[in-house]
């Protein structure tokens, strides 16, 4: 009995700081933001309860809400498959027994540890319409390049291209998954006459599906919350954040502006909880659908 109490004490002693941190800096702010989402709150005055007004304004009146959702969904729908395909493709290559494999793994992972703002600044130089590297190359070939950054039609594709640069983390996870696939299965498939594509389709993909599922779930969440690249994109050009014409107004950026530019903390809290609800829904759907294609080998 005594030792059990002592064990409890040590448990609280060691987990206490982490739990206190979680309660103070995560749980309490989350609950507070839920309350604030039903209030008008400008940081200085006391929150004033307004019921569902913030949610109603967002859904029915805010000129930026739906465009920001559209931008974010398009980004997620295009960027996520492309980044996962790139990460998987490179992971497959880096899993081959070639010389200098460790070096190439480092090279491909390197962009992921670069600050996003620095990457964006470089890409903004490449994509400048007047005097940018890409348009200079196009001019040499006799073409007039578009206004990549200033055009609402091109700005989002450029942001997607920039964000593809950092696929290092899913690549490493894929690589780990690939190394756990038993070589005998490939040898058996090879003996049975399976070609490279068949081996990939019927051996690699099924056995990699839990890893792929993990990357999809994390990728969806990351894509819906994207902020840094959008913020840095606007800042690097001196553009109105989210511009031109709301073409890069991601949901996270819109939320940030409402909270920290315009002091609409209640509205921003409502946006955060709507995002939370959407992410929960999509993640739940992902888990439901995963039963059909994820194989855990049991």
């Amino acid at each position: 009995m005594k030792s059990r109490r002592a064990e409890q004490l040590w448990f609280w002693l060691f987990t206490g700081p982490a739990l206190a941190g979680f309660v103070l800096f995560s749980l309490w702010p989350m609950l507070r933001s839920l309350w604030l989402s039903f209030c008008q709150y400008d940081v200085v005055s006391a929150p004033h309860f307004t019921g569902l007004r913030n949610y109603a304004y967002l859904i029915f009146s805010d000129p930026a809400f739906w465009p920001s959702i559209k931008v974010t969904l398009v980004f997620a729908a295009v960027q996520l498959p492309l980044s996962l395909a790139a990460a998987l493709g490179v992971a497959l290559l880096l899993n081959q027994p070639v010389r200098g494999r460790g070096f190439w793994r480092s090279v491909y992972f390197l962009p992921s540890i670069l600050p996003q703002a620095a990457s964006v600044a470089v890409f903004v130089y490449i994509f400048q319409s007047d005097g940018g590297l890409l348009n200079r190359v196009l001019a040499l070939a006799g073409f007039t390049g578009p206004a990549w950054l200033g055009s609402p039609a091109w700005a989002l594709p450029v942001v997607i291209m920039i964000s593809l640069w950092g696929f290092g983390y899913p690549m490493v996870i894929f690589l780990g998954g690939l190394q756990n696939i038993p070589r005998e299965l490939y040898e058996a498939a090879h003996i049975d006459g399976a070609g490279a594509w068949a081996r990939f389709r019927h051996v690699t993909l099924p056995l990699l599906s839990p890893v792929l599922f993990f990357n999809v779930v994390m990728g969806v969440i990351g894509a819906l919350k994207v902020f840094d690249v959008a913020y840095a994109f606007g800042a690097a050009q001196g553009l109105t954040p989210g511009g031109p014409a709301r073409a890069t107004l991601f949901y996270g950026l819109n939320l940030y502006q409402q909270a920290f530019t315009y002091f609409h903390m209640g509205l921003a809290s409502a946006m955060a909880w709507l995002l939370f609800a959407v992410i929960m829904l999509i993640t739940w759907l992902n888990f439901r659908l995963s039963r059909r294609w994820v194989h855990y080998g049991d």
């Binding site: 005097g131 578009p146 553009l239 511009g243």
Partner: protein, 435 residues
């Protein structure tokens, strides 16, 4: 016996540790008094003037041995974030910057300075401020900032490019037509060996330039009572049309999205409408850039409409040292301090400093035509005094202007769409602050 007390002792130690942690996290890091001196805090943007401000503060502290000034240096891009974080934590710095454009947003943190300004009107030389600047210091007749710097929209031009094109420099009586005529002669298409020159810049992504034309064409953004957007009026549309046609019809400005980066500094752009005084230092440090300024060309309706914007010091409404902070504000905005700032490249907010600068025979560097700067003040107007001006302009109006610039629709449609969207916003939040 000892083991009997070990467990409670551990619990007590744990609770004491947690309590110490909370005390440490919550303790007042900026005490009201330190070593017998009253502590006032000032959040300052990191700028080339840092050494100047530090010297000023050191001198102020020498003259006021009972006051200690703690300067919180913050990069410009993080200024608002840092300020709001401090404010949210109940630690609003005693003194902070605010442009007049931000007063509406920062008003909840500001002291009404009117009693202090009226009490010390002679000492601060209230009459020494230009009337346009005095107007910009106020909201509804109350003073909230003491100005240190001012920007006024001007016509900037590259003297070398004018010489090479065989053109006389812009005159004070220029109109839009003159701007277009000169712009056409200055525009030089790019070739394989020459990046070319655009006659006139076109500022995209914010209201800085197009609002000038809207106002000069006789239009404005809001109706006089501020309850309706009137960007769809014929006059406002005429201003938007000129902004658009600088590129699409007259060909003196780059097409939408193709504006050369830093075009005026890189001498790829011969004229710039609007501009900012903050760039003067950069311009003067750029080798070979020979530049000057002139009054804005007059529009079809009026010469008025160029923007005037001030930046000044505000006093926290929760300060514990109101008089001490006010003393620092007065010290930093005295004529000698303003003159020192102007000497580093800037416009004087005080008439006396402006006159001294204009008379100074030893003054060198650009702009040579400093008289135009102060003359333009007479025609300048502050931005509309709507409490949600920035949000409305950037979030609601600017996307429609962007689409117009990219050729999605014309100025009539842009004005109509912008007005409709703003009116929807105003209807939702009529008479009250947005959520």
């Amino acid at each position: 016996m000892l083991s009997r007390f070990r467990e409670p002792a551990l619990w007590i130690a744990l609770i004491a540790l947690a309590a110490t942690g909370f005390w440490w996290a919550g303790r007042d890091r900026e005490p009201a008094v330190h070593n017998g001196r009253k502590v006032i805090t000032w959040i300052v943007t990191i700028s080339p003037l840092r050494d100047f401000y530090e010297q000023e503060v050191a001198e102020f502290e020498r003259q006021h041995p009972d006051i200690e000034v703690r300067m919180i240096w913050v990069p410009g891009s993080e200024y608002h974030m840092k300020f709001k974080t401090l404010a949210a934590a109940g630690r609003t710095p005693d003194m902070f910057y605010s442009g007049d454009v931000w007063i509406s947003y920062l008003l909840p943190f500001m002291s009404d300075l009117t009693p202090l300004v009226q009490r010390d009107a002679a000492e601060i030389g209230l009459d020494d401020y230009f009337p346009e600047i005095r107007a910009a210091m106020q909201r509804d007749g109350r003073y909230y900032v003491v100005p240190e710097a001012v920007n006024v929209a001007l016509l900037y031009y590259n003297r070398r490019l004018f010489r090479e094109a065989g053109l006389p420099e812009p005159a004070a009586d220029w109109t839009w037509d003159d701007l277009v005529r000169a712009g056409k002669k200055l525009t030089r298409p790019a070739t394989a060996t020459d990046p070319g020159v655009w006659g006139c810049s076109r500022m995209e992504g914010w209201w800085g330039e197009w609002l000038i034309y809207v106002r000069q064409a006789g239009g404005t953004v809001f109706s006089p009572d501020g309850r309706r957007c009137v960007l769809d009026s014929a006059a406002a549309v005429a201003g938007l049309k000129f902004y658009l046609e600088k590129s699409s019809r007259f060909g003196i400005s780059a097409p939408g999205g193709y504006e050369p980066v830093n075009g005026f500094v890189n001498q790829r752009v011969a004229m710039l409408v609007g501009g900012h005084v903050n760039y003067w230092l950069n311009y003067n440090q750029t080798p070979g850039l020979d530049w000057d300024v002139q009054l804005l060309p007059a529009g079809p309706a009026t010469r008025r409409g160029g923007e005037v914007a001030i930046a000044g010091y505000a006093l926290s409404n929760i300060t514990r040292h109101r008089e001490e902070t006010w003393a620092l504000m007065k010290y930093l905005t005295r004529p000698a301090a303003i003159a020192a700032i102007v000497n580093r490249g800037g416009i004087a907010v005080r008439r006396s400093v402006a006159e001294a600068t204009l008379r100074d025979p030893l003054r060198q560097g650009s702009p040579r035509h400093l008289a135009a700067v102060y003359a333009q003040l007479k025609y300048a107007e502050p931005i509309p005094r709507h409490p949600d001006f920035i949000e409305i302009m950037l979030q609601v109006v600017q996307p429609e202007i962007d689409r117009m610039v990219m050729g999605e629709f014309g100025p009539e449609e842009a004005g109509r769409r912008a007005a409709a969207a703003v009116n929807q916003y105003l209807a939702t939040f009529a008479g009250r602050t947005p959520p």
